[in-house]
């Protein structure tokens, strides 16, 4: 019984990891940008949901679509910032901007919402009982949302014209440019989509997450772990890796000491780098 319960909890945690990792891997693959602020936008999404809930009594699900659109627009703006900096300072400039944004988002959230942990109360989608475990509707929604986003992204990247352009840019930006692909626009679009997914992730997971201003950093770590494990630019790989990490997290904290939860992903990543060092060396 315990095993099934841990497995379910792990899959739900893993779905969140996947969702965070999917956007991150997209932008790393296509834009070659390691957007350090990615986790920060998840944190921002969480607090947007909290704000809308407390101020306007809107449930996160009502906030989801408008918030995603706002994050998409914000993403294009951020893309402009990265692009502008990239022209002058390259990869390091992008790392700097990402880090600065991560810190700025964390700092702003701390000033606006204080340091103490917060939760969203009273948002419920009902619940079901599986294997003696009560699973909240919001968690099932998050799981389904992950699958929809991942499959949608996969289909877009594999089947559409825009996806083909993205793959071309990921493969060889110069050659793609010569064939008429608008490289900067494609990269910026990938970044905007990833930021929109990050923001939406925050909104979707807000009903069952404890909110703290520096939550962004821990999401960033999960994103990193998922990308290394799933392969850079591989959206389906990210989903698999996220779910696997979630289950490993849950099982290790259930059967071993609690600090294994943070040690397990590290060990897995180190193992992957030991066995397949080139997997991480794509960038």
């Amino acid at each position: 019984m315990l095993f099934e319960q841990l497995l379910i909890v792990g899959l739900i945690t893993g779905a969140v990891y996947s969702l965070v990792g999917v956007g991150f891997t997209l932008v790393l693959g296509v834009g070659k940008v390691a957007n350090f602020a990615h986790g920060g936008f998840v944190g921002l999404g969480l607090y947007v949901a909290l704000f809308m809930h407390n101020q306007f009594d809107l449930s996160p699900y009502a906030t989801l679509v408008p918030a995603t659109i706002v994050f998409l627009a914000l993403g294009f703006g951020i893309g402009e910032l990265f692009e502008w900096r990239a022209r002058r300072a390259g990869e390091i400039g992008q790392l700097l901007i990402g880090l600065a944004l991560l810190l700025l988002i964390g700092g702003s959230l701390e000033v606006l919402f204080k340091d103490n942990p917060r939760t969203l109360n009273g948002t419920t989608l009902g619940h079901i009982d599986v294997a003696g475990l009560r699973i909240d509707g919001s968690e099932i929604f998050a799981f389904a949302f992950t699958l929809v986003v991942a499959v949608g992204l996969y289909v877009t990247v594999q089947r559409t014209r825009w996806g083909r352009a993205m793959r071309a840019v990921a493969d060889n930006p110069e050659a793609a440019g010569l064939y008429g692909v608008q490289v900067p626009v494609t990269q910026r679009a990938a970044l905007a989509v990833s930021i929109a997914i990050a923001g939406a992730t925050g909104v979707v997971v807000s009903p069952f997450t404890v909110l703290t201003p520096d939550v962004g950093t821990s999401y960033l770590i999960s994103a990193f772990a998922v990308v290394i494990l799933g392969g850079i630019g591989n959206t389906l790989g990210a989903v698999g890796a996220g779910l696997a990490l979630g289950v490993i997290d849950s099982l290790s904290s259930g059967y071993l000491a609690s600090y294994w939860t943070s040690l397990a992903p590290l060990l897995i990543i180190l193992l992957v780098l030991l066995v397949r060092p080139d997997n991480g060396a794509v960038v």
Partner: protein
């Protein structure tokens, strides 16, 4: 804008070249700093001490970043190794912090070898950043689970009354600040030596093109790991002093989110194009952050926010840091960075001898970052 830069550059070219006297300048700086610290108010010393601590910790980051282009976020972990080593050895065995410095360096050096191997086995800034960030985030919960290291509370050092040099405990902050000042000066001197040493040449070659460096027989991975271990050993020293100053060693002090990023931010704002970059970056950022949070009325959380804001502005305006901008402005022989092997191989006149009167090779090549991506 170009005109202003041009005018500044012309002015800069007329200034006397202090290059040959740089060791003298460093000594004068230390002497002035030593006495100045004695004359400061207690509040100012506390701020300067923080800046000196971040500068020393950030120097280890800039050693890696400047010489190899390696973006390591694990440096605060090694700072924490210093803090925990001194606290543990002092509490359990009464070992003097001065001796703990050596022991901590040895521990960090040994730890750094496997970490460096995994993080830098293949080139790529992002992979190293990923692995080292994950490491620095995974360490606090692991340390918190170890009873001998004080679990989540940390280790509190027993207080000795008055000034006790052997236990590195003082009634005021001034001696701590002076120790950190000397430490920074030693690091700067080390950078100046390193930039001209054979190792410096190797690291420049590896950073420029590791394939070319390997082709001419430079042991690429060994050099990378060696420099990583050296940087790790450096990082423990400010950790020891900071733990003694706070009479405490815990994960929040060394590895809390703000502590983690502040080390990085001062290093990046200072830049690694000149040996003094990190120190200037630390002083500038601490000063800006202090004044901005004072102006904002000291509201909780405003400190990190102003710090982040100042960092964003610096990242946008001076992506290679203050010393990078300085180097671009003052490099007499204009743009040519120290020629690494990689560069010589790319040179159409392959193997051409360099003129004997080259300027001091900067720790970071002036125009290389733009090519990195």
């Amino acid at each position: 804008m170009t005109d202003i830069l041009g005018a500044l550059r012309t002015k800069a070219e007329r200034l006397p070249n202090i290059g040959p006297f740089r060791w003298l300048v460093l000594v004068v700086f230390v002497v002035i700093g030593w006495f100045w610290l004695g004359a400061m108010s207690a509040a100012t010393v506390a701020v300067v001490l923080l800046a000196l601590y971040y500068a020393a910790a950030g120097s280890s980051f800039n050693l890696l970043f400047g010489s190899l282009g390696v973006f390591s976020l694990a440096q605060p972990v090694f700072v924490a190794v210093g803090g925990y080593t001194t606290a543990y050895l002092y509490i359990r065995h009464g070992i003097s912090p001065w001796l703990s410095m050596l022991i901590a360096m040895a521990i960090a050096g040994i730890l750094a070898i496997p970490i460096g191997f995994l993080a830098m086995r293949r080139p790529g800034t992002v992979v190293t950043a990923l692995v080292t960030l994950i490491l620095s985030e995974a360490v606090p919960p692991i340390v918190s689970a170890v009873k001998a290291l004080g679990s989540s509370i940390g280790l509190y050092l027993p207080v000795k009354s008055g000034t006790n040099w052997s236990a590195m405990q003082f009634a005021s902050a001034v001696p701590f600040a002076r120790i950190l000042l000397i430490m920074n000066a030693l690091f700067i001197a080390g950078f100046m030596w390193f930039a001209r040493s054979r190792w410096g040449g190797w690291t420049t070659a590896i950073r420029d093109s590791d394939v070319a460096a390997r082709a001419v027989g430079i042991p690429v991975l060994a050099t990378r790991i060696g420099v990583f271990a050296a940087a790790a050993m450096m990082a423990t020293l400010p950790g020891v002093v900071y733990a003694q100053y706070n009479l405490l060693s815990n994960t929040e002090l060394f590895l809390g989110t703000s502590a983690l990023f502040q080390v990085l931010v001062v290093a990046l704002v200072g830049g690694s194009a000149r040996p003094w970059g990190t120190l200037v970056g630390a002083l500038v950022m601490t000063e800006i952050s202090y004044h901005l949070s004072q102006a904002a009325g000291g509201r909780p959380g405003i400190g990190p926010l102003t710090f982040a804001g100042a960092f964003l502005i610096m990242a946008l305006v001076l992506p290679r840091g203050i010393s990078g901008a300085w180097a671009a402005l003052f490099d007499r022989q204009s743009v040519r960075p120290a020629a690494g092997v990689g560069e010589l191989l790319r040179d159409p006149l392959l193997g051409r001898r360099r003129e004997p009167s080259q300027p001091e090779p900067p720790l970071v090549a002036t125009h290389h970052d733009a090519d990195a991506s």
